[in-house]
């Protein structure tokens, strides 16, 4: 119980800290932020339940008024803005990433993490993300999907980095990778 609670708080803080990392510009001029990598890591390392709890904690404190979303955004205004679907989708994405990670225990950690981060952190996250954007900006689903495609290459890079980091952490601290524990 103590260990789980501390790790949940730790990953919530990691996601917040990644939001403060300066943006990296892709050649297309689209900014990529490290924050969604934290969502993926929460899933691949903590597993479904704890990963979702860590991300939910981060989202709750952001909505409560801490400016922790990348770009210093926060507060309830996020729920009324166009990125509402992504913010609500963050815990779901972490849960899905963790769920897939736990199901793929027969595969090497790095490969399992790459698949889990891609499906959970990109495909699953984009579903509520696109839906929220479509609703807030009054666009159809394909139109909203078109608006976010520039972010796709950045997210693929983040899934790869997540896989490499998860693999390295598993090698150095196997006991800290909850998604690979037989609980």
């Amino acid at each position: 119980m103590e260990r789980a609670t501390v790790h949940i708080a730790l990953f919530a803080a990691l996601i917040a800290a990644l939001g403060l990392v300066p943006k990296l510009m892709l050649t297309s001029g689209v900014p990529i932020t490290a924050q969604s990598m934290g969502i993926m890591m929460a899933g691949t390392i903590l597993g479904a339940k704890r990963g979702a709890a860590a991300v939910a904690l981060f989202v709750a404190l952001t909505l409560a008024g801490l400016p922790l979303l990348s770009g210093g955004r926060g507060g309830l205004g996020v729920l009324a803005g166009p990125s509402v679907g992504f913010v609500i989708g963050f815990p779901i994405a972490a849960w899905a990433t963790g769920w897939i990670m736990e199901r793929l225990h027969a595969l090497p950690v790095g490969i399992a993490a790459a698949i889990a981060a891609t499906v959970g952190g990109i495909v699953i996250l984009y579903i509520p993300g696109v839906a929220g954007m479509a609703m807030m900006l009054d666009k159809s689903i394909p139109q909203a999907a078109l608006l976010i495609t520039p972010f796709l290459p950045g997210d693929v890079i983040k899934a790869v980095v997540t896989a490499i980091l998860t693999q390295a952490i598993f090698r150095a601290r196997p006991a800290s990778v909850f998604s690979r524990q037989t609980l």
Binding site: M1, E2, R3, T5, V6, H7, I8, A9, L10, A12, A13, L14, A16, A17, L20, L57, F58, A60, L61, L63, A64, G65, L66, P67, L68, G71, R73, G74, G75, L76, G77, V78, L79, A80, G81, P82, M136, L137, D138, K139, L147, L165, A168, I169, A172, R173, S176
Partner: protein
């Protein structure tokens, strides 16, 4: 850590947080189910009046928080300009800005502790599902404490890296940072358990 709360007290700071949150829910719902220009104009005007009633400095701080919406306004403007459909474009932008303005108003006038108190209260029904309110409160406090620890540890690792290399080391420190923090988490949980652990009761 700087919260988004506006620090000089205004009359809205005195309104209890649950009332503000309920009102915000009602206004936002109204904005989305009555999509007429009049309704949005009246509510938008009301938001502006509320900000202005709290003073010029407050109004200016409020407008600054809305500034982050500009990329969406540009995208919507281009889109509807291209479609030649200005009316609905302006309506959507006005609705978006109004909804965010009301939400920011609540954030700016409600201290973080009040929001967290509301949050913990909202989570109370989940106690039956095994969600301990003590664990939630502790996790909130620990997360807020961990953020500056993360940042200063990253800075230290970067300085150490620069002493050894001519590169900036922005990426090279990620892995040692993660390992150090995971070890810290284990130490913290041991320390918590040694002090009696998290009590499941309130």
């Amino acid at each position: 850590m700087l919260a988004l709360t506006y620090s000089p007290q205004t009359r809205l700071h005195a309104v209890p947080a649950p009332i503000k949150l309920t009102a915000l829910c009602a206004i936002t719902t109204a904005l989305f189910i009555i999509p007429t220009g009049w309704a949005i104009m009246i509510l938008g005007g009301a938001a502006l009046a509320l900000y202005a009633a709290m003073g010029i400095a407050f109004l200016r701080a409020g407008l600054r928080t809305l500034y982050g919406l500009w990329p969406f306004v540009v995208v919507l403007g281009l889109w509807h300009g291209w479609q030649g459909d200005w009316d609905s474009g302006i309506l959507i932008i006005a609705r978006l800005v109004t909804a965010v303005a009301f939400a920011n108003l609540v954030t700016m006038t409600t201290p973080l502790q009040d929001m967290i108190a509301c949050l913990v209260r909202l989570l109370r029904p989940f106690r039956r599902l095994g969600l301990s309110p003590n664990a939630v409160s502790l996790a909130i406090a620990m997360m807020i404490r961990f953020i500056p620890v993360f940042l200063s540890r990253a800075e230290q690792l970067k300085m150490a890296y620069r002493a050894r290399s001519h590169r900036s080391g922005r990426w090279a420190v990620i892995f040692p940072l993660a390992l150090g923090m995971l070890d810290d988490a284990d130490t913290v949980s041991e320390a918590l358990r040694a002090r009696g652990g998290i009590s499941p009761k309130e």
